[in-house]
Amino acid sequence: MEKKIRILVAKAGLDGHDRGAKVVASFFRDAGFEVIYSGLRQTPQMIVQTALQEDVDVIAISMLSGAHMTVFPRVLQLMKENNMNDVLLTGGGIMSDEDIQKLQEMGVGRLFGPGSSLHEAVAYVREWYEKTKGAKPEKENHD
């Protein structure tokens, strides 16, 4: 049976610039995902808590404040502590290639920089889902 991918789109830290997070959330929703948007000013604890409560497949964090090297490792650690081994942590925002590489080595999924294609992000999550869960998610609406 086909299942909708459940994704938490989260804004972490003090930053209030939610344009990117909302655009991504709308695009995922229109692509047929079940989207949970965290709202602003979320700590890593709050993000992981919501992910557990909502039983999501994916956590996507939007970061442009520069605090990504603090936030992503924390979330990753909390995910491990909660045995969320089958949940993907991905995200986007302003991060240097060097930082992206470091975060991916720690176990974070693909990270999308400025100017990334939303179609690509959707395709990436779908592909991950098929590979990890061995099931085909529901079809995208607007492709």
Partner: protein, 547 residues
């Protein structure tokens, strides 16, 4: 216009082959192929344009415009520790910049000290870290505050940062009445767009009116609010939404101050505006021209302001950060140059040009210098500032300006129907309008209805980015925390506590908060301590999580 030739032109166009492109503005509105006299047949020169420096100021707020004085070249700067930013300020002043503009980090913007758990990882990253007067003393060390004008981008804790500025000036022997500059202090746009709010809207408005009242009496050269469309646009609004929502915010402040019993002609001359310069060249120029005209008409006709200075909309412009691309970042120099030209043709009083690397990190010294030089080339080489409002009378430009004014009036009606700006914020009206516009714009890019060079057109597949990126060391945070803890040991803590109590009392009793905050600032009470005291009285705002 000869109707026969017009018909013939229409026929020729109808049978001609046109480029396969969407002819829409950056806001998504259709663009006329040709301007004609027909489009502006009702335009009355004296009523709708007038002379520069005269009502309704469509052509500019000064009679001589840039022949009298060029715009202020004001580059926004702030990063790391107060020492780091102090050095950058001195560098910019040495390179011919004529005003300072301070960027604060996120903890400061949110009223949190460097040692607050929420501040971890964010100290000095997006701007300079300021927790107390001590940081502010370092920030302006060796910069004579009676000589420079300073702009501070700060909103929720604006009253505290202004108090710090007043206190630093006093230590330099400079009186409040000598201080020149602008504090952004536009809380309404925070709820609408940037979302760095702390208290609910009503107490926030009360704090702003306290500041207007204080500054009107004691700081006659200070711009008390910079009513900001910039962030509304960066959040994804259209040009028209930027224009309408910003002016609506401005009118809300004016009405709040008038309700307090302040004389409009005493405070209105010190209100200023801040707009974005986005990619669509003509639409941007029309936006600035319409803004001046709408403002003048309202101030005179609706609010009954008598002084000419009260009718004038003066504004700062920043080129649109959100238009810059991480791909082929050198192209951003060109984008910024066109946007700067639109701002100058639109008659801005002050301009910030973005640096090419800002989409990747805070600007490097070289990138900032190129951005400043872009303005200098425009000012001193292009000849553009020699004549005032050169696009006036252009059929296309005047039509676009009229459309902007009409569209804004329609938005004002909608806002009024919702009960005014604050109820409209609480109902999520602005937030929804902007989010929808942002999504539409992004879909246009995704679907290749809109080309962005380097992103979805003319890409360089093997591009390697080789511009130096400024990195903020984690040591900054450690040092700021250390300094703050040292301060808390050294200052007179009994005095601080008693002033915080006094602040709480003033908040409860509806007294003007400015005098007690200045005293607390001088006693080295921190931003976080003062904000937390006020949170006890006013509470914190939370918006709904709908998207």
């Amino acid at each position: 216009m000869d109707s026969k030739s017009f018909k013939r032109w229409q026929q020729e166009v109808a049978s001609a082959k046109l480029r396969d492109a969407k002819f829409i503005t950056a806001s998504g509105d259709p663009v006329e192929m040709l301007g004609t006299p027909e489009m502006i047949k009702d335009l009355d020169y004296d009523r709708d344009l007038g002379m520069p420096g005269q009502y309704p100021y469509t052509r500019g707020v000064h009679a001589t415009m840039y022949r009298g004085r060029l715009w202020t070249m004001r580059q926004f700067a702030g990063f790391g520790s107060p020492e780091d930013t102090n050095q950058r300020f001195k560098y910019l002043l040495e390179n011919g910049q004529t005003g300072l503009s301070v960027a604060f980090d996120l903890p400061t913007l949110m009223g949190r000290d460097a040692d607050d758990p929420w501040s971890e990882g964010e100290v000095g990253v997006c701007g300079v870290s300021v927790s107390s007067l001590r940081d502010m003393e370092i920030l302006f060390d060796g910069i004579p505050l009676d000589k420079v004008s300073t702009s501070m981008t700060i909103n929720s804790p604006a009253i505290i940062l202004l108090a710090f500025y007043i206190a630093v000036a006093e230590k330099q022997g400079v009186k409040p009445e000598q201080l020149r500059g602008t504090i952004q202090n536009d809380i309404l746009k925070e709820y609408i767009a940037q979302k760095e709010y702390i208290f609910p809207p009503s107490p926030s408005m009360r704090i702003i009116v306290d500041m207007i009242e204080y500054c009107t009496e004691s700081m006659p050269q200070w711009n008390t609010i910079s009513i900001s469309g910039y962030h509304i646009r960066e959040a994804g609004s259209t040009a028209l939404q930027e224009l309408a929502f910003t002016l609506a915010d401005g009118f809300a402040y004016i009405e709040a101050a008038m309700e307090r019993g302040l004389d409009i002609d005493a405070f209105a001359p010190r209100l200023s505006f801040f707009f974005n310069a986005h990619n669509d060249f003509f639409e941007e120029i029309a936006k600035y021209r319409a803004a001046r005209r709408i403002y003048a008409r309202r101030m005179k006709e609706k609010y009954g302001a008598k002084k000419e200075r009260s009718w004038m909309l003066r504004f700062h412009t920043q080129t649109a950060g959100c238009t810059l691309t991480a791909q082929q970042p050198e192209n951003n120099i060109v984008r910024v140059a066109y946007q700067a030209l639109a701002a100058v043709l639109g008659g801005t009083q002050s301009l910030h040009t973005n640096s090419m690397d800002e989409t990747l990190a805070l600007p490097s010294e070289k990138a900032v210098k190129i951005a400043l030089r872009t303005q200098q080339i425009l000012a001193y080489e292009s000849g553009v500032p020699h004549t005032i409002d050169p696009l006036a009378g252009s059929y296309f430009m005047e039509d676009l300006t009229n459309k902007m004014e009409q569209g804004a009036e329609e938005y004002f009606k909608k806002i009024e129907e919702l009960g005014g700006v604050i109820p409209a914020i609480e109902k999520g009206f602005f937030q929804r309008e902007i989010a929808e516009a942002a999504y539409r714009y992004q879909l246009e890019i995704e679907n290749n209805d809109r080309y962005i060079v380097g992103v979805n057109a003319f890409q360089d597949k093997d591009e390697k980015i080789e511009i130096p990126l400024l990195q903020i060391s984690p040591e900054v945070e450690k040092e700021q925390v250390r300094r703050l803890q040292e301060l808390k040991r050294e200052r007179d803590n009994n005095k601080v506590q008693s002033l915080l109590k006094e602040l709480k009392q003033a908040a409860i009793e509806n007294k003007n908060l400015m005098p007690v905050i200045i005293e607390a600032a001088k006693a080295y009470a921190t931003v976080g301590e003062m904000i937390n005291t006020l949170k006890d009285v006013f509470g914190e705002y939370q918006e709904s999580t709908d998207f």
